[in-house]
């Protein structure tokens, strides 16, 4: 009796694809840490949701009939084990593709590959996660750690600064350490000191003092948003106006929320991430942003500029999952339907679409990374909002995105 109840309880979540007479609904799974880092999870899911189920509803016609899409969220809780279990569940639910934050990919890609299901990483950029030869079903639309680290090195080394490389002990920080070590390998004289700080340390003043005593003239901080805020607090609190550089974690609203009482401490924080606008200008991204905000509302950071306006967060990371869904739709059309999943994976290497920022998004048989390393730009904070820097050739060409209301 108890075991029958087990089956009952666990089978409650079973669900097939919804379908009506004319249109079959395809499931796209979003596997992300909704409970642990809601900003990341929601950003990825919302981008996918926007592309898959816009107000008019996407319906694609193929030789096998018409298809629409629905998004289902699976919470990985930043646990590899849960992430892998989610991939199994998604496949059991009949997911046509999985958009993943990246946790647990080393184990889950094989499970998805056995089911001929493509996985697209929309956040993590670690080296080795994507390999067209070894992992033919794994794709990524997100800046790579390698790209961010090399762009930081390329940007900072000519400035002849002595750099303190600070990472935290989280997996994100340790991945960053590897990328930074490679990027600064040929210019060891640029590195004043390498520091690993505890993620949960209440005060980073001792570590910042060490960096200062090593005569660092810039800090590169590859860490969780809360640690970045702590580094800024420790440096600025001691009166050290050193420039601070970070990967995309620097633009996480949490950094500004934690420093809301000292907005001036955020000034000068520069982060590197994939560009939200392209050579074609800001129109495509603004159009995407409008759609996003109409659907999900404006994302408020929770702080204000000195003039009093509320600061908003542009949905720049949401555009990656949005783009992947559009690439997937094109691939299904190229494959002529969904019966042969292998064809869809093959078609993903053949199609491309106009991305949310106006760039072309697509993959090929040698490259499953949809954001090229050269697309990483720099933005610097001032008065709680950021704008592209002017001393980097790529960033200087980009337009500023409105961030207040």
């Amino acid at each position: 009796m108890l075991l029958l109840l087990v089956f009952g309880a666990l089978a409650t979540g079973c669900g097939g694809d919804g379908a009506n007479e004319s249109t079959k609904t395809l499931l796209i799974a979003v596997n992300a840490p909704f409970s642990r880092t809601p900003y990341v999870g929601l950003t990825i899911a919302n981008g996918a949701e926007l592309a898959a189920t816009s107000s008019s509803g996407i319906v694609i016609n193929t030789k096998e009939g018409a298809f629409s899409f629905r998004i289902k969220r699976y919470d990985s809780g930043l646990s590899a084990r849960r992430a892998v279990a989610n991939v199994r569940r998604a496949i059991a639910d009949g997911a046509i593709a999985i958009i993943d934050e990246g946790t647990g990919i080393n184990a889950s890609w094989r499970i998805a590959n056995d089911a001929d299901t493509p996985i697209c990483i929309a956040f993590q950029g670690g080296k080795g996660l994507v390999d067209p030869n070894e992992r033919p079903n794994v794709f990524r639309i997100a800046p790579t750690d390698h790209g961010v680290a090399f762009r930081l090195a390329e940007y900072l080394i000519p400035k002849e600064r002595r750099i303190a490389l600070i990472v935290d002990d989280s997996d994100y920080g340790q991945q960053g350490r590897k990328a930074l070590d490679e990027a600064f390998e040929r210019n060891p004289e640029s590195v004043a000191v390498r520091l690993t700080v505890p993620t949960r340390a209440p005060d980073l003043a001792p570590e910042i003092l060490r960096a200062r005593r090593a005569h660092a003239s810039a800090l590169v901080v590859w860490a969780q948003p809360s640690v970045i805020a702590s580094v800024l607090a420790a440096a600025r609190g001691s009166g050290w106006d050193v420039p601070v550089f970070t990967p995309a974690a620097g633009e996480d609203p949490l950094v500004r929320q934690q420093l809301a009482n000292h907005p001036e401490w955020v000034d000068g924080l520069t982060f590197a991430t994939g560009r939200p606008t392209a050579e074609v200008g800001s129109v495509p991204f603004l159009s995407f942003q409008r759609l996003y905000e109409e659907r999900f509302g404006v994302q408020l950071v929770g702080v204000r500029i000195p003039a009093g306006a509320e600061v908003t967060q542009p949905p720049d990371y949401a555009m990656y999952s949005y783009d992947f869904v559009n690439v997937l739709v094109a691939a299904i059309q190229r494959a002529g339907g969904v019966k042969d999943r292998k064809k869809i994976i093959a078609a993903l290497e053949e199609v491309s679409v106009a991305g949310a920022n106006g760039d072309h998004r697509g993959f090929n048989e040698r490259n499953h990374d949809g954001v090229v390393d050269d697309d990483v730009y720099f933005a610097r904070f001032e008065d709680m909002t950021y704008k592209p820097v002017k001393d980097d050739p790529l960033s200087a060409t980009l337009t500023e995105i409105e961030q207040t209301r």
Binding site: L2, A9, S79, A80, A92, Y172
Partner: protein, 614 residues
């Protein structure tokens, strides 16, 4: 020679089969049918997509039932089961992913690592009170979790440790095979619990759980049994963890944080720790909470994890508020109330009577002394108790009577002096060692094992001298174990019949009257086959008729050659039973001799008797 062994084996198997067939019941048939249905379910139900989740649930259930060995059987409130699960999982994962070990040796490593961790924890916490055991094991859970997180190079960090696909005889061990294996293991640990609980090790653990001091007094090796239960519990968790990680094919630290230990503990308490199906029921309820939380969370836009833990916590509070027995026992009790089973035929007591003491010997104490700080609890006590006599130890409260009793049975270590029986010094022996030498003390009347029946309570004492009662012989019910059990049962029944409780064999001890509880404690002590029995206030609160009955019993015991040392305040009772009387005052022996001698001693009259008369 070989022929004789074969014949003996055949005979034992035939007898075992006959006994098993005689014990087979409708309930057993239903259970077997459920197990068969569970094993066949993957073949007939469309569950392939859910099979990894179901198999993972079954492994978790194995760990939860394993926890019931510690919490339910031994009464150890362990909050560390998640840590042992994690140790088993990571030992397995490291051996397989980094060491390239085959499946079976890696599994054994996982079990061994968890068992070793359990044994060390059990040794470290064995003497702590329950609340401190709970705190210590909870801290262990955090230490293991934080250690795994702190060394991502070993634990694999966010990507976890990825295991190669397990194979058995060249075939991949898929989710369905894991499920079948999990069900088989679950049945084994449940059956193991059901076998152990009503037999010698389980009864000894139950006695230790209920009244540790009373169990120790009857010679139960409480510390060893509790350590064994805790280690077994950890080993089962290690097995579940190792197999669970094989199923998931990835191990990451976040899967074994404190939440898992909390969840397992709640499952055991929620479902009922003292029935092996309780933890499974508890996990099912938590699983239902999880689904409900997911639905509610989705409606409210909340992360599912938070609501699940909150609902689980409320469930725990509810069960604790209702008495803490758990949901399954509560449901079963309600069922029994409305579907009263026909009264079982009471086991009949044998015709034989309690045997005479085989090797009677005098008990002597020489200059026995004990101080508690500056307080002299006992000073230079010389006593002599002859076989077949009753020696009463009297004196005002705080005069050192109970201290003397505890020093004789080994509950306390003397500062000076010695205890001997038949000329053999007992000073280096533990309480159990002294019980084996025939020196047994019974506790005060309220010290019954409330959860045990009359027969079970006496079986605890009767098991003292039982051989072939180890856990493996018990589990496999070997012929020697069965013979030993039958002999112990006969001994227990004789003791019960002697005190006149043969009509109450199946009654819970807690339902007995105070006088019956006194008789029960006497029977438990007698079942250990003592040479000297020490009774602590056996007549406290007894009415005249009960006193007479008790006195009659003690007379008969004296006739059987037993030496009885009785601490008593009721001087009429002392007059009725005692051959000799010793009087203590402020830890010192002020008089000793026959009733008449002591009664006429002026020091005794001044210090103790006053207007009373012996």
């Amino acid at each position: 020679m070989t022929g004789a062994v074969l014949e003996q084996t055949h005979g034992a198997l035939t007898a075992g089969f006959r006994e098993a067939r005689a014990a087979w019941s409708l309930r057993a048939t239903i259970a077997a049918a459920i197990v068969a249905a569970a094993l066949l379910a993957p073949a007939v139900l469309p569950l392939s997509g859910r099979m990894p989740d179901i198999a993972a649930f079954v492994y978790l259930a194995v760990a939860a039932v394993g926890l019931a060995y510690a919490v339910g059987l031994a009464g150890i409130p362990s909050l560390g089961q998640g840590a042992f699960l994690g140790i088993g999982a990571f030992a397995e994962a490291i051996a397989r992913a980094k060491g390239g070990w085959p499946l079976l040796p890696a599994l054994l490593l996982g079990i061994g690592a968890a068992a070793a961790a359990g044994m060390l924890t059990g040794l470290a916490t064995g003497r702590l009170r329950s609340a401190f055991v709970a705190v210590s094991t909870w801290i262990l859970t955090w230490i293991v979790g934080l250690t795994l997180i702190s060394f991502p190079g070993i634990s694999g960090g966010a990507q976890g440790l990825v295991l190669p696909e397990a194979e058995v005889l060249g075939h991949p061990l898929g989710a369905t095979a894991h499920y079948e294996l999990g069900v088989a293991l679950l049945v084994l640990v449940i059956v193991g619990y059901l076998i152990v609980a009503p037999r010698a090790p389980g009864l000894a653990l139950a006695a230790a759980r209920e009244r540790s001091s009373a169990a120790v007094a009857l010679g139960v090796p409480v510390a060893r049994f509790r350590l064994g239960a805790f280690t077994t519990s950890a080993a089962i968790a290690g097995l579940a963890g190792a197999l669970g990680v094989e199923l998931a094919q990835v191990a990451d630290p976040s899967g074994y944080d404190a939440t898992l230990s909390f969840k397992l503990f709640v499952a055991v308490i929620l479902g009922g720790a003292r029935t092996p199906l309780g933890p499974v029921a508890g996990l099912l309820v938590i699983s239902a909470f999880s689904h409900a939380a997911e639905r509610v969370g989705a409606l409210r836009g909340l992360p599912p994890g938070r609501l699940e833990e909150m609902l689980t916590g409320y469930g725990l509070l509810l069960v604790l508020g209702l008495g803490g027995a758990g949901l399954l026992p509560a449901v079963l009790a309600s069922w029994r109330r409305f579907h009263r089973a026909p009264t079982r035929e009471r086991p009949s007591a044998p015709g034989e009577t309690l045997p005479k003491v085989e090797h009677p010997a005098p008990l002597t104490t020489r200059r026995l002394s004990k101080n508690f700080g500056s307080l002299v609890a006992l000073a230079e006590l010389d006593l002599e108790l002859s076989p077949g006599s009753v020696h009463a130890l009297i004196g005002p409260n705080g005069s050192g009577k109970t201290t003397a009793l505890k020093l004789v049975v080994g509950d306390l270590r003397p500062d000076r002096g010695s205890v001997a029986v038949g000329g053999q010094a007992l000073d280096d022996l533990t309480t159990r060692g002294r019980a084996l030498e025939g020196i047994v003390g019974t506790q005060q009347t309220t010290e019954v094992f409330a959860d045990l029946t009359v027969l079970e309570s006496v079986l605890v004492g009767a098991g003292l001298r039982r051989s072939h009662a180890g856990i493996f012989r018990t589990l496999f019910a070997t012929p020697k174990a069965r013979r030993g059990a039958a002999a112990v049962r006969r001994k227990a029944l004789s003791a019960i019949q002697f005190v006149g409780l043969e009509g109450e064999l199946d009654r819970p001890s807690s339902e007995l009257s105070a006088h019956e509880q006194r008789l029960l404690m006497l029977a438990s002590g007698l079942a250990t086959e003592p040479r000297v029995l020490l009774l602590d206030e056996p007549a406290a609160g007894a009415g005249p008729a009960e006193l007479e009955h008790l006195a009659d019993l003690l007379d008969r015991l004296r006739q059987k050659g037993l030496g009885l040392l009785v601490i008593e305040h009721n001087l009429r009772f002392v007059r009725r039973i005692a051959d000799r009387v010793s009087v203590l005052e402020a830890g010192r022996l002020i008089a000793s001799g026959s009733l008449a001698e002591v009664a006429s001693d002026p020091a005794v009259r001044t210090a103790y008797l006053g207007r009373q008369r012996l």
